[in-house]
């Protein structure tokens, strides 16, 4: 029997040897599972108010206690996991798409277009992201509300009356518009370094089109760094979403977000510390897990880059 060793299997083996990375992977796995199925595991609705049981400390009925409106904190935390996961996947997807588009265009075309796109990337990178995200969020709100109203008028589909989704659309837009530059820079660098290799030269010599070289050679060979960047980007999106919600512009009540749970607790943390500790510890745990997992992936996928 021949021992088949693929590139990915090797990387996987290296990843499993890294204990911190495995711990991070397990935490992220639990996080994703709870984001998907969390609502089925709790008897309470995350919005259900119980005014007779406000601000309860942790108990058998409410494992993490209740908040100022008597809502079960564990249920809200689980719903917040869903919020964080949705935002992480969607904004990373959109900004990855933008970054690949801009980065590969700049790398392939070169010259003035490259100069212009890299100027745009540098400028976007030197704007304090949260300020810009707050501006985008505020400015897009009115037009998007109007647009949803119009869509409802035309289709009579009650989906467009559901304002819970509106916050998500705004957050996706604001976060994607500030987080594409990292991917664009990475992709441009990859295009430039891989274009110079002999296998791309030989592919070009036998007449392969630019698109073919792109999809058969450049994209597969950029996968390692790209996967690492995407992992870091998802952690980054979770930070940005909870930051925006903490500052009161992201996901609005009654929707649950870890950031807004934390900022709601700021008024009464001295008397009811459990309100603050639960979302704070959750955010910290998830972000540390993403960092460990990302570092482990980097060591496993790009073994030539050493510290």
């Amino acid at each position: 029997m021949v021992d088949v060793r693929s590139l990915w299997a090797d990387a996987w083996r290296r990843l499993l040897k890294n204990r911190l990375a495995v711990a991070g992977m397990v935490v992220i796995g639990i996080f994703l599972f709870l984001a998907l199925f969390g609502r089925l595991l709790t008897p309470y609705d995350f919005l259900a108010q119980d005014l007779a049981n406000q601000l309860q400390p942790p108990s058998a009925a409410h494992w993490l206690g209740t908040d100022a409106l008597g809502r079960d904190i564990l249920s809200r935390l689980l719903y917040g996991a869903r919020t964080a996961a949705i935002v992480a996947f969607t904004t990373t997807g959109i900004s990855l798409f933008l970054g690949i588009l801009i980065g590969t265009t700049a790398g392939f075309l070169g010259g003035r277009i490259d100069n212009f796109l890299m100027w745009l990337t540098d400028v976007t990178m030197s704007i304090p992201g949260l300020l810009m995200a707050m501006l985008i969020n505020t400015a897009l709100k009115r037009p998007i509300v109007g647009w949803f109203d119009q869509l409802y008028m035309q289709t009579k589909n009650p989906f467009f009356l559901n304002t819970l989704w509106l916050d998500f659309v705004l957050v996706f837009g604001a976060l994607a518009l500030i987080s594409w530059p990292g991917y664009a820079r990475l992709l441009r660098g990859q295009v430039l370094s891989i274009s110079g290799t002999t296998y791309v030269e030989s592919a070009r010599a036998i007449g392969a089109s630019t698109m073919r070289i792109m999809w058969r050679h450049i994209v597969p060979n950029s996968m390692g760094p790209l996967i690492v960047a995407v992992t870091a980007g998802m952690g980054g999106a979770i930070v940005l979403e909870s930051s925006l919600s903490f500052l009161g512009v992201g996901i609005q009540p009654p929707n649950a977000s870890w950031g807004s749970m934390l900022s709601e607790s700021l008024t009464m943390w001295r008397t009811f510390p459990h309100l603050m500790v639960t979302p704070a510890v959750t955010i910290g745990l998830i972000l540390v897990a993403f960092t460990f997992f990302g570092d482990g992936l980097n060591d496993a996928l790009n073994p030539r880059q050493t510290d």
Binding site: V123, L247, L262, G284, V288, D295
Partner: protein, 315 residues
């Protein structure tokens, strides 16, 4: 040399222009009619508004002109230091910024100093003890500080210091730079750039240590102390200086959180107020000034970079 400097200045000033353009366009198409917004409260209170008077106001403030004309007007005013009028407070935005920005600048400056004074020695110490436990401890705490955002660290620290240890009251508000209340906000703000500084210092020093000329210096019998102070430390400042953009961004972003948590009436608090009250001239001013701070920092570093590292000139 001169073309390099000019191209850098051109790059960052056009960048700033782009930020101003994007913010203005967002306000122009996103905010709706500012005159309507000004009288929104009255209209909701049941007061009948005179359309003709509103139109007259629009003409008076030049709001009936086209987008390019209005944007050019806004830029012209900016150059003269006029940032427009706050819609909610009915006073010049510049007055509000003049009152708020110095507070954040003072805190930011001390936080930067703190960060540099802790970060550079920590980075050097880690590199000199490469792969030993001190190195791993410093790198590890850097990873933790970097991963956990300020708005999580601050409440946990508060809880620990105020409820857990009971050694302080909740720091609240602004009583000047020399009041003990600003110590905790400053330390928390300094945590933002700290991991970057440690990482850059450590990486730069590790790279220098493997250079041939260090080996030569060691071979000719220089003491360890002399090698470090004469040959290594000079090169450490370069990577720290080049990450000034990152440092400034983390300070501006951090100001939002610490000023909200500790009720400090600074630039960050002004931004949050502007957003909460949907006060577009204020939001635009804060975004443009935030970008200005970071871009001027980047530009200055680009300009002094050839002096710090003569190898990188004229390319």
């Amino acid at each position: 040399m001169i073309p390099y400097l000019l191209s850098r200045i051109f790059r960052w000033s056009t960048g700033l222009l782009l930020v101003a353009f994007v913010s203005y366009a967002m306000m122009f198409y996103g905010a709706g009619d500012p005159i309507k917004r000004m009288f929104m409260d009255m209209e909701q209170g049941g007061v009948e508004l005179d359309e003709q008077a509103l139109a007259a106001l629009r003409t008076k403030f030049g709001l009936d002109r086209s987008f390019p004309e209005q944007f050019a007007g806004y830029l012209g005013n900016l150059v003269q230091g006029d940032w427009g009028m706050s819609i909610r407070e009915r006073r010049p935005v510049w007055d509000m910024i003049k009152a708020r920005l110095p507070i954040s600048m003072q805190i930011g400056l001390v936080a930067t100093l703190l960060s540099v004074l802790i970060g550079i020695p920590a980075g050097i110490f880690a590199a000199l003890n490469h792969n030993r436990w001190v190195d791993q401890a410093i790198v590890g705490s850097g990873v933790f500080i970097n991963a956990i955002p300020i708005f999580v660290t601050a409440p946990i620290l508060l809880l620990f210091l105020v409820v857990g240890l009971g050694i302080m009251n909740v720091p609240f508000g602004w009583k000047g730079l020399f009041h003990t209340q600003v110590i905790l906000p400053m330390i928390i703000l300094a945590l933002g750039p700290l991991p970057t500084i440690i990482r850059q210092t450590r990486a730069a020093l590790l790279e220098v240590m493997s250079q041939d000329y260090i080996r030569t210096a060691r071979a000719k019998g220089l003491t360890r102390r002399l090698i470090i102070s004469r040959h290594m430390l000079r090169l450490v400042l370069i990577p720290v200086a080049t990450s000034v953009g990152l440092i400034l961004i983390s300070l501006v972003n951090g100001a939002l959180f610490i000023e909200l948590i500790f009720s400090i009436p600074g630039f960050g608090k002004l931004t949050i107020q502007g957003v909460q009250q949907v006060d577009y001239p204020v939001i635009m001013a804060t975004v443009i000034i935030g970008a200005l701070i970071v871009m001027v920092g980047n530009m200055l570093i680009d300009l002094v970079y050839p002096l710090l590292d003569p190898r990188i000139t004229r390319s």
